[in-house]
Symmetry: D2
Subunit: 370 residues, 4 copies
């Protein structure tokens, strides 16, 4: 219960620090017989990995994931899957100067008080480097969901500082360094980030993730609702400070007559709910949005204390992302895929004999739309 | 794993439907030796219970909680605590007309597809009536946290439709029917609700919860962060569609130099983080905000389908809250108390020998403020 | 994690003390659509309940179980099932004299040290009274397993003190007060127990449980093996001190050529393994045996200490079973049914798409035997 | 919930197959600040590793464990600990001939039916090779328990086929290839094993494990009793078919007046209970005994079927232990240490404020004995 696991039936447990020899994890509960496309898994890791553009940290990691078990001749066996990613570009000397300091806005102070000891190099266990393992595990889940149900789990950058995407063109998302779905905003993003780097500061972001083709019925009453588990998973990503499902905070000013999505034989008339009713998937798109704070690792001097409680001034060196929200897109996709995979298994375990004659109206609507 | 439990070491499991003979639950993991103030527990139930004002459902329930075990001569024994609340005012006839219909915006459709069978009376298991048990369990957690650490967990209505509280005066919260901390807004709330009832519609709300005096160090890396578990708990409350910690979505447009809370020997200079850094409590106030959707149970006719998939028009009868957000205040407090209690035990289990000489700067700041 | 739950996907959580107002529990994860035979459930409770013969405690309890939720019009809904059994014949005055004493061989001393407080009346939470709830939950599992797979879970008294059953005639088990499958031993049992009661002493017993028609494939590598979870469940029954699967301790002197059960197209040639290979059911009968200690509640004076650590002499009064092993038969059946039900769901969740052309040779053998 | 984890608060999850590139695991929940003696951990692995005597398999593995995380400058940090052991001597060609066969007495048949696919090389996931990771994790637990409480967890071979140890001399256990505590039996063991190897057969064994200095109070009512979790852990070891606590099956013929251990101010007068009362440690020695079946991997031809269900004759080649019970001694110690460590944390989490004035009579007895 020390917290390094997520999921009940499709369960990921991770280990590893930013500057240790390796990070890794175990996926327990993957169904047998899944033909794994290792290139696709590596592709997701490459989307997340550092050093790919000038807007992300210049740390260079190959982030090659090794499958140590649970896969035999390219197919999952149902046994636990051991994942290993070696750390190849850790530069510990960058961090020795902050050994006895607490970087403001970081977990240094809280880890120190919690554990009494910490691997201070690069944030140790609190580093976002750990999320590479999530991406690998999420890619396994994505493949299962895609092959079995045609589910797509896709994310994009919805806003970065003041720059908001106004169009959602999925074909654009992978065409730029920002995962931005609006081609008209690339220049503004580029310009904003250039200025930001000059100033030495960082900025927050909003990331959206959408899952399509999710069948009706996934999610458990009353605590482990699908939306509750999604909120947990997203908030477990470093820097995330807020999560919305469907219309999110906009519901505060809505009235029931507007908010409730009417049912018709041809589908729902709207999707204010974001694909979840009573904690259970409705068959509509699962729509999730989240806010990521600006990283506190900036070159602007900050006020802090040291481990003796004395005041110090501190400048974060090392290589950091000016906007951690950008690389969070594949991580958020991975987390949503893990939650969906887990809930599919949980739903199926208890309810596999259920047969209803009522049509799945969201599926009907999708078919008509095609 | 069917989802009716929350917490790992302080664990609540609930049962019961809106119109069954009773609802109840089991609290497992409560430390022994806690002297329970049963009146205070009942008081929290009374704050949540229906029929207390004209702005909540007119269903009348005494909501008297019985302690069936785990308490001996007024003191907890460490054994599992059985809780029982009888349903005294269920009127099943109100619901027979919707037996074969799906109310839009409700869990009817998703429960039907998930389970193939449902207790349609009053929403059955998906009814918010279940939350009464949460309030009872949360009240136990509150008492432990208060007695041991001086922790206060308090909530209020921050916004209802267009009406926002602009002052936070804790002494006002229990003085009105809205849990509103701003005495200047009571009239506007009153007037808005009167009009709303006339129109037969409902409205959303924003509820905030704050925990003070939480020690530094609670929360587990990397998945079971304190904020991730809070998000899960809040999103498990009926109608909640969004959760924020600290500045929440405002961080999207913030820069790191603004967002990061500086550390000084006299305390943090701000609390943008909302009391959580790296998933672990910092000692500052835990600040949580959430959005509750307008209930879909309104007297305005709506479009839907029946269990055969045919179109129907539907008017929700029965007794309903025009704004479910109001009564959510004690529920949100209860959920935060349960999460904190669970994380205290989890933290303590692993780290009980940790001793650090670094001062708890948030505690220092609190002492200076008094 | 305070330990009052068993099972992962079919999960029972219990509460209640021997002399509180009621005992009860929650079954979470029962599939929807199960038509419950409430009489059969009550019948299992009656088999366990005290006061049914002169060889069990003379405490009289009706042990009527109430279903408070999760069942609608006689059918399970998939929601959590609340179970309640009222205590009607608790006589607390019987126990006030042992308030400050530790009965030897009981949990008094260990509960006192663990919790610092205890409900001393009748053993409180450590009383075997709690097992009535297990029997109710197990009866639900039994019905599912029987209806879906034709699984029978049946137990019997294999030995009581020196008296061993030498025949296994299932038709006899319910025909006597001992659950003894050997009609030739009833007289010996009767005579032994009469003498025992006169002496004021108690005696141990061996109980066997067998599950037939269990499909091949249930059980999880590597820790949650079916046999490991059975061992856990049986050892969680009050007074159980040992558990065997298949040949059990006899394997110590066996050689591999004898022990291994050969496979033929017509079935296994033997069942030394007890129906489990590598922690997974083989399709053969699951054979479990367990030892129950003689109760320490006897009228022969014993040496002990009081809560101040001073020596005392102590005679247990109250109403007790001279052989707790007898009434353990329905409890052991219930526990095996719960474990099987849980493992069916766990197996099914992950492996529901598995199709193999290799025949189930144990099923073939059973069909041929009929 | 696929079963590759054990423990709640001190939690081990493992991965790896006999003939994959590596095996490994993650220990989650180890308290921070533990100074690890890596040599002692490696020593336990060496005690278990194959190829050390002529009575164990001749497969040669260095079994060097690498700590990939959670340890910083020789001290645990509280973060999850990644463990890796590379497989260096897997000879897959030895196994290709059994690709389509089911070895009798093995998990081949059950894995095939459960998962539809299996890594047939050396038993894949069902191989006892996986237990090396348990030994590494158990060694961490042992060190914590020893440093904090002076707990010793020690095992020995109590019986091998017909040869029983009659003396328990702890100093002898590590002096011979059998972990035998009776120096007078070494010759008989040697001679028996020589003959056994000639015959190509295998034999069962009894292994005992004892934990001393365990404080009173560990173990949870009512399902997660200390003895129930010990039974689970031991039965999860490959080949174990039976587990006893204290007097075990001997209680069947005992009477209560004999079995119950009297309490005196100077200690218990006996330890029939094996150190557990009501599922909670009493302070006395925890005494556990288990039976391990003879391995089915023998060179004597056996009858079986292939994956098409056709009869085949089969001789197991490869390198195998004629008595797997011997090498099980360090594994059983590891499992007991893991269970104790987990229960210490669980007990401590809930009951850390408990203070009782009643003396710990088992501790008094131990002090007097010294």
């Amino acid at each position: 219960m020390a917290g390094n696991s997520i999921g009940e039936l499709f369960r990921l447990t991770t280990f590893g620090e930013s500057h240790g020899p390796a990070i890794g994890g175990i996926v327990d509960g993957c169904p047998p017989g899944l033909v794994l496309d290792l290139d696709a898994i590596q592709h997701d890791l490459d989307r997340r990995k550092p050093g790919t553009s000038r807007y992300t940290t210049q740390r260079r990691e190959d982030d090659v994931v090794k499958f140590l078990s649970g896969v035999f001749e390219g197919v999952t066996t149902g046994a636990s899957i051991g994942l290993l990613i070696e750390n190849t570009d850790q530069r510990s000397q960058d961090y020795s100067n902050i050994k006895d300091l607490f970087r403001p806005g970081h977990a240094d102070y809280t880890y120190h008080h919690k554990f009494g000891i910490r691997d201070y190099r690069g944030g140790g266990r609190s580093s976002a480097r750990e999320t590479a393992v999530r991406v690998a595990a999420g890619a396994i889940a994505k493949q299962y969901l895609k092959q079995r149900f045609g589910i797509e789990v896709r994310g994009y950058l919805a806003q970065l500082g003041p720059v908001k995407a106004e169009k959602l063109d999925w074909t654009q998302v992978e065409q730029n360094d920002f995962f931005c779905p609006d081609p008209d905003k690339i220049e503004a993003l580029d310009s904003f980030m250039r200025d930001l780097k000059k100033s030495g500061d960082s900025v927050g972001a909003r990331v959206n993730v959408v899952a399509t083709n999710v069948p009706v019925g996934w999610g458990e009453p009353v605590f482990d609702r699908l939306d509750a588990d999604i909120a947990h998973a997203m908030m477990s990503i470093n820097a995330v400070k807020a999560v919305e499902i469907g219309d999110g905070f906009a519901v505060v000013e809505q009235q029931g007559s507007t908010h409730r999505d009417a049912l018709t034989p041809q589908g729902f008339t709207a999707n204010h709910a974001g694909g979840v009713l009573g904690g259970i998937s409705s068959g509509q798109d699962i729509r999730v949005s989240m806010a990521l704070k600006p990283t506190s690792s900036i070159s602007i001097p900050g006020q802090s204390i040291n481990t003796s409680g004395e005041p110090v001034e501190l400048v974060t060196k090392g290589r950091h992302d000016p906007c951690v929200g950008i690389r969070a897109v594949p991580i958020a996709e991975a987390m949503l895929a893990i939650v969906l995979m887990d809930h599919f298994l949980r739903h199926h375990a208890q309810n596999h004999q259920v047969q209803v004659s009522t049509p799945d109206i969201a599926a009907i609507a999708r078919q008509q739309a095609e």
